[in-house]
Amino acid sequence: MDKPSLVIIGNGMVGQRFVDEVVKRGLEGSWNIFVIGEERQPAYDRVALSSWFDDQDDNALSLVEQQFVEEGPVEYRLGTRVDVIDRKNQTVLLDDGSTLAYDHLVLATGSYPFVPPVPGKDLPGVFVYRTLDDLANIASWVEEQDCKSGVIIGGGLLGLEAANALRNMNVAANVVEMAPRLMPQQLEDGGSEMLSRWIDELGVAQYCGVMTEEITGDAQGVTGLRFAESEKLAEMDGIEDNQLGTDIVIFSAGIRASDSLGRDAELEIGERGGVVTDTQLVTSDPNISAIGEVACVNNMVYGLVGPGYDMAKVVAERLAGSAIEDGFAGGDLSAKLKLLGVEVASFGDNQGNDTTTDIVFVDPVKKVHRRLVLDENSQIVGGTLVGDTSGYDLLVAMARGQMATPEEPQSLVLPDYVGAGSASDMELPDTAQICSCNDVSKGDLKEAVANGCHTVGALKSETLCGTSCGGCVPAMEDLLKVELANAGIDVKADICEHFAYSRQQLFDLVRFHGHTSWSDVVAAHGSGRGCIICRPAVASILASLSNGYVLDESQAGLQDTNDRSLANMQRNGTYSVIPRVPGGEITPDQLIELGQIAKDFDLYTKITGGQRIDLFGAQLSELPAIWQRVLDAGLESGHAYGKALRTVKSCVGSTWCRYGVQDSVTMAINVELRYRGLRSPHKLKSAVSGCTRECAEAQSKDFGIIATETGWNLYVGGNGGRQPRHADLIATDLDDETLIRTIDRFLMFYIRTADKLQRTSVWLESLDGGIEYLKEVIFEDSLGICDELDADMAKHVDTYKCEWQETLESPERLSQFVEFVNAPEETSTPVWIRERGQKAPAPAETEELVIIGGP
């Protein structure tokens, strides 16, 4: 143990970034490295904290691999607190009683939420909003107490974020702010007023300019707030006797640096808190550095992650012996956010002073307020944007002096939709920062593209751009498109060489022209004879739009292998038969008959992963007879062969299960019957669980439904398979009717706009604006297409027919199911072996073709 010890206190965002920077430089070769973190979880993305409510999955936010924590070159002690720094002996004392010696110590203890000393602040039901545990506690309180309304104390950024979280849990949110307006730090009066109009519309009540005197309640929990008397209160809704009732209170009244370790160890502390450092982040003790929100550099404490990341890098460089000369250059507090779906940005010196002037654009109809602050030389130094943040990147670059403000800055205040001359017409210089969280410039991104990163994903892993708050991702996408186009790299979304259109464009064309056959489509919009890509794609579009029989003359030649025979081809050329078992519910008689059919035709039988029964090993020519028996048993096509709805899994639900809160089986059957046969860009799977124990695994489905006490939560965009993805929560506590209408629209919108063979998960991730955009389309009808989507789905439901039923009704169609047209009684037969009492295809090497006479 002759290596010196490097001890890092705090495993938050910046502490972890520091570990990454240190390991990147191979410093674990020359140091023994220890990380002490008070929270149970290894570092996670606090910036994205609120997204925890989507799926309540701690791991989804993690910033470090579990394996690295357990076996990596750095020793982690999590759930452990440092109580004392003993500078004289260069040791730290941990709360488990042990001590740890250090040669260099890095403080990365971040901040804690400030809770003003209001009486009642310790009552049950009062929370802060900072850690995963805080959120878990909030969620269980809301559930246990069945909270109907809640109060957030503090109308800043985080307060509004917390308000949104309550809203998503169906708790009416009230924001209480001491200042006369919302976001007092970031916005001036005009912008704040406009924001307040947006927030009003979302049904979040605001109480600004009021003082909370007491939180009322008893040992059972909070019941309300009592305010200091004021005239304002009388005009506010919902207030009686200066009181506002509530079931939960969340404090979001600002943060304070977690500097108590430093204070106790008598390190120099800033006026307004924080451990003072120089620009190399060294504290008043040369063996101790401080980084992130606990550091006070040049009299500033930075409450954003970007500057913290820069600090982590500066210290890592210094320890590696190649100190960055100027050290930490200072960060700025520019931020662009989407709060409750409202675009808000503030950048540079947004307050201004005696020597500055403002240019303001106000559009009361679209609720847009944009303000630029100019210095005496008419250079942009800062600004605030509410309701429309177009041109943000350029404006920030100008405020930072990375590019000159043009002669007539007036036009820059205009939002994009006003048009001519607005900021987005101009080009950013390479030095402009695109990602403030990770300090990535336009030049860095261009270089990465030139070096072969041609997707957003590749750019993210190469440059880290967009990996923290995600706010810069749209800018990154735009840049990628431009760079690829400049480099002459094809970014066309064309389906294939036969159609110069994306699937979505082709869908719109077919819908608009009302085409019903391949020949019309290819004559009007394509070339050649098509291929295995475009033919099935066109078939799927035609089927989604017309719901016609897929093996009709005009469509038969378009169908993929499995659709062509309405069965899945197996590796030896035989087929499988999968009847639909809606919701997984099947009668004993049907089970017996399936068994009998399998025996009569000697079919291998297996329970599928989708709660149904698969019969394998049927000859093409046997399919009609087998399906006739299946239909006679009251079952129908399961579309296992189609890009269509597959299964809707169910759990047994409230009918039998002691925990079930809704009848998940009935819902699953209804959903499966409604969407059966719906052709789509890729297969669709669903599931319904009767309670949050989630036995049906609904969150791994394209659309998953989970029962709540009062309705259904709907999740979309999940799948298993190659790239598993958890579904995102799109709406909560829906009644039956709204649930179905929401799914209708979701599915039809997906069918219209997805790429060929693109599952809902990938489609959702590719949507500009993601789940929020999808919500706007579905719930607010932002595209004005909901009527069409509803009508398209109604048409599907009304015209559904079982394809096997249709096939069996027509001798012409049946004639397709022979192996040799000129010798219908002959079949080729593969070599079978017997395994565990059933037949199975012989291993590939032994296969050899025999043609035999039929029965």
Binding site: R529, G530, I532, R564, L849
Partner: protein
């Protein structure tokens, strides 16, 4: 028919009426005891006539007789079919596999006589 050879004085196998092959699909047939895949292609978009092709019916990659159930299409000017199992493409004119130079299928001459499709002996070409 564009590409059909006069088979009347050679011995061919009668397969089925032309109409019973759906446009742009194939059917399986037995010719001299061997599986053959027969395809009927609609006239190309830029004019011309219907086309008829016959190739070996066995997918050379899996030894399974399913080529008649593949999807037809074009690659440039060449008419092709893709195996329904692992999607390798074959030129319908000369049987050449587009995804593996070393693989070429037998092709057969075709004709339509009195509305009946006739597949001849192996193509002379």
């Amino acid at each position: 028919m564009d590409n059909v050879v006069d088979l009347t004085d050679r011995v061919g196998t009668t397969i089925c009426p032309l109409e019973s092959i759906l446009m742009d699909t194939g059917v399986g047939a037995l010719v001299d005891g061997q599986p053959v895949a027969v395809f009927r292609l609609s006239p190309a978009v830029d004019g011309g006539e219907e086309e008829l092709y016959a190739i070996d019916g066995i997918d050379p990659f899996t030894r399974v007789p399913v080529l008649s159930r593949g999807i037809i299409g074009s690659d440039g000017d060449q008419p092709i079919v893709a195996s329904p199992l692992y999607k390798q493409r074959f030129n319908l004119v000369n049987g050449q596999c587009l995804d593996d130079d070393t693989v070429q299928l037998k092709t057969y001459d075709t004709a339509v006589v009195n509305g009946m499709v006739i597949v001849g002996p192996t193509s002379q070409a």
